[in-house]
């Protein structure tokens, strides 16, 4: 302490700057430490991942974002991509631990990750709370039943039940004729469906809307989760904490 001026211990950044200015005339080296520095560093690191469009984050429901996975990644096995996603995942986990919302990631997706990718953890209440319009559509789908007319769901089916990238649809890069063609293909493919397939379609749309087009086993997702879980030597990992609100 004699040769260092400790500026802050978790005090607001503005105050840190104030103190730094006051001490600038001193010959002592200036050190900023504490929770404020840690939080600023976490936010700064996270922002770097946001600054590269469509590289790590992909647009999803209601202005939220999910992981920008690519089907090519498992073929490439790029170690730098795996490292980037792992560090990104660790940062997201650390932000949550520190009570900082990793906006704009979808809170429902984070909930899914915190529950170790248990799809059943995405309850109707949770979905309704964050994505009410989408939740209402899913409810209407279920009410329609396996014998009902599903043509009113054509947009949703095109967006979430085929192989077209969600961001591609939302980016309105498809012409109306192309979109119509997609819709017709999807509807005809599941026109004759039983109750099980009808319910499965609902679950599939929820998965695609919240998690994305890839399974948790996808290399990008796996890399992200390898960091997000923050495993330690004593067996701790973030999803092993049971989250009750």
């Amino acid at each position: 302490m004699s040769d260092k001026l400790l500026i802050s211990f978790g005090i607001p950044n503005s105050l840190q700057k104030h103190n730094r200015t006051d001490s600038s005339s001193s010959s002592n080296p200036i050190i900023s430490v504490g929770d404020g520095v840690e939080r600023e560093m976490l936010c700064c690191a996270f922002a770097e991942y946001q600054s590269v469009p469509n590289c790590f984050l992909a647009a999803q429901l209601d202005g939220t974002y999910g992981l920008a996975t690519t089907p090519v990644a498992p073929l490439a096995a790029s170690s730098s991509r795996q490292k980037d996603f792992a560090v990104f995942g660790a940062l997201v986990g650390l932000l949550i631990i520190n009570g900082i919302a990793p906006t704009p990631l979808d809170p429902v997706l984070l909930h899914y990750f915190l529950h170790d990718c248990d799809f059943n953890s995405i309850t109707p209440g949770l979905l309704s709370e964050w994505h009410h319009q989408f939740y209402s559509m899913i409810q209407q789908w279920r009410d329609t039943g396996s014998n009902g007319d599903i043509s009113p769901f054509s947009f949703w089916l095109a967006a979430y039940a085929d192989n077209t990238e969600v961001s591609y649809i939302f980016g309105l890069d498809l012409s109306s004729a192309e979109l119509e063609l997609h819709n017709c293909c999807q509807i005809s493919a599941i026109q004759n469906r039983d109750d099980e397939l009808h319910v499965a379609c609902a679950a599939f749309m929820v998965y695609r809307a919240v998690v994305g087009s890839e399974a948790p086993a996808h290399s990008d997702m796996r890399s992200f989760l390898s960091g997000f879980r923050l495993p330690t030597r004593n067996g701790f990992s973030l999803p092993k904490v049971s989250w009750h609100y």
Partner: protein
């Protein structure tokens, strides 16, 4: 309330979450110290990202989640 891997974390508010998790993650015994330094925020961030990458590679974030952590610039 957040329950941990073997027992409940001592955590009733979001403000206590980090400390409770750091305590739970370290296990018994002395915690390893984590010191990350940089001459500015950018350097500090890069240094920390390198440590995160190493921890992710070894799948061991024990030091990252140490209650004895210091970030200096």
């Amino acid at each position: 309330m957040v329950s941990g891997i073997s027992s409940s974390l001592d955590c009733d508010s979001i403000g206590d979450l980090a400390a409770a998790i750091y305590q739970c993650a370290k296990g018994p015994g002395e915690a390893e110290e984590l010191v990350v330094s940089g001459s500015n925020l950018s350097e500090l961030t890069e240094s920390f990202k390198i440590k995160l990458a190493e921890a992710a590679k070894s799948q061991d974030f024990t030091q990252i989640l140490s209650p004895r952590h210091h970030f200096e610039m």
